[in-house]
């Protein structure tokens, strides 16, 4: 019987890494990031990576881990505002960044995973990101041609997962995780709770197991808050 369950993040990623590969990572800010898998990638020392993610976390957390160690050669993202190390490397020309509008980024990855090689979108027409892209009018409205993204490896963080690879995400920790899971040759999921098939209601599954090649239960879950905002009790 096929087995998708791996004992830990390090063994799950071990034979999947090579220099110059493209890795997709779920997460938005520090929310829903596959941090244990990223740490395993950091520890492996693999280099010259192209990383596709919404934003590279902060210094030393999430994709920030790989920025610090200079394992990232190129970042495809919509935002890099809270990572000072990345900003320094970028302004010094040491790392490449391809800016994508967030919706275009999400849609490009979705297209890659869904077998759509390219699509037209009104987003970004007349801006810097339109440079070098075909523009074409539909219903009188100019649109840009954008291409699908498909990676070598996708890393996602889920709340619950079963041994078949069916995944459930929690609240806004869902974000880019489901789409990343669809758009790589190999998808590895880290989960807070590993359960048996049938324990998750089949109607609630957000990522069907078909997209998940390997799954790892986290021994302990450490979550970070980037900006704690609270209100006072009346």
């Amino acid at each position: 019987m096929a087995n998708k369950v791996y004992p830990n993040a390090v063994t799950a990623v071990a034979d999947q890494l090579r220099d110059g590969m493209t890795i997709l990572s779920g997460g938005f800010g520090l929310c829903g990031i596959p941090d244990a898998l990223i740490e395993a990638i950091r520890a492996s020392g693999v280099r010259n990576l192209t990383i596709v993610t919404n934003n590279p976390g902060i210094d030393g957390i999430g994709i920030g881990r790989l920025v610090e160690t200079r394992q990232v050669a190129k970042l495809i993202a919509s935002y890099a505002g809270e990572n000072a190390t990345f900003a320094r490397q970028y302004l010094a020309g040491e790392v490449e960044m391809e800016y994508n509008p967030q919706g275009t980024l999400a849609e490009r990855i979705r297209a890659g995973g869904a077998g759509i090689p390219a699509f037209y979108t009104p987003t970004g027409v007349g801006t810097d990101i339109a440079r070098g892209k075909e523009t074409r009018e539909f219903n009188g409205r100019p649109c840009l041609l954008e291409h699908g993204i498909f990676g070598d490896l996708a890393l996602v963080h889920a709340w619950k997962g079963d041994t078949e690879g069916n995944l459930l995400y929690r609240l806004t920790a869902r974000n880019f995780n489901p789409v990343m899971a669809t758009a790589a040759k190999v998808t590895i999921a880290e989960v807070e709770q590993l359960v048996q098939p049938g324990a998750i209601d089949a109607d609630h599954i957000m990522t069907p197991g078909i997209f998940v090649k390997r799954i790892v239960e986290l021994p302990r879950v450490e979550k970070h808050i980037e900006k704690l905002t609270v209100r006072q009790r009346a």
Binding site: A80, Y99, P101, Q102, V179, K227, T229, V230
Partner: protein
């Protein structure tokens, strides 16, 4: 007396209608959330995958899995739904959000908006701003009229654009302008802050505009 940030936001809140789905940008737009008229049912969209944003949590009740697009801890409410980033921007690009209230660095006299970067200074990114201005049918920009003595309402944006001819309404500390896309001039001054006169607005505005006060 020019409007303060809270008053700019209050003016923006008057653009809301009962039943609207609304996306608020970071900065002054965020203040609009606390100024929604009583009895009006408004659902706030957060681009990271949520409709129906609640207020900040009480101290100690924050959840790292529940943040807004500004990465701040928030809460859910009974009407809340969660979804992924693809669905979130499907809503945005598909025109399902009724209105977006955004900050601005520059607005041109044809309704171009620049609000995502200052070359050489910022390494941030457009996040969802380009998608919002392309997809949401009504774009309201709230900003200080001038920055360091320079008008932010310009003939042509000198900063990288977020979108071309996308702004519908501009609310500054001095005045409110409607943008009639396709007309020239497109900018129409429709409202003044208290004790601000047209001369003061003219003196502080690099963009061409017509008066349309009533």
């Amino acid at each position: 007396m020019p409007w303060n940030r809270e008053q700019i936001a209050a003016r923006a809140a008057r653009e809301l209608q009962d039943g609207f789905y609304v996306n608020l940008g970071i900065g002054i737009p965020t203040l609009v959330a606390n100024l929604i008229p009583e009895g009006m049912s408004i659902q706030l969209h957060s681009e990271n995958g949520m409709l129906g944003m609640g207020p900040f949590p009480f101290e100690g009740e924050q959840d790292p899995d529940l943040i807004n697009a500004g990465k701040e801890t928030i809460t859910q409410i009974p009407t809340t739904s969660f979804f992924d980033s693809v669905a979130s921007f499907g809503m945005v690009r598909g025109g399902h959000i009724d209105i977006s209230i955004l900050g601005g660095l520059q607005v041109s006299e044809t309704g171009d908006l620049a609000n995502w970067t200052i070359p050489g200074k910022m390494v941030k990114g457009m996040g969802g701003a380009m998608d919002l201005v392309a997809g949401v049918p009504r774009i309201v920009v709230v900003m200080e009229h001038c920055a360091k003595g320079e008008s932010r309402l310009v003939k042509q944006c000198t900063l990288p654009l977020t979108g071309k001819s996308v702004v519908d309404l501009v609310i500054t500390d001095l005045a409110v302008f409607e943008v009639r896309k396709g007309e020239a001039p497109a900018l129409r001054l429709i409202e003044l802050a208290p004790d601000v006169d047209v001369a003061e607005v003219r003196a502080n505005t690099a963009a061409d505009f017509v008066e349309s006060l009533n």
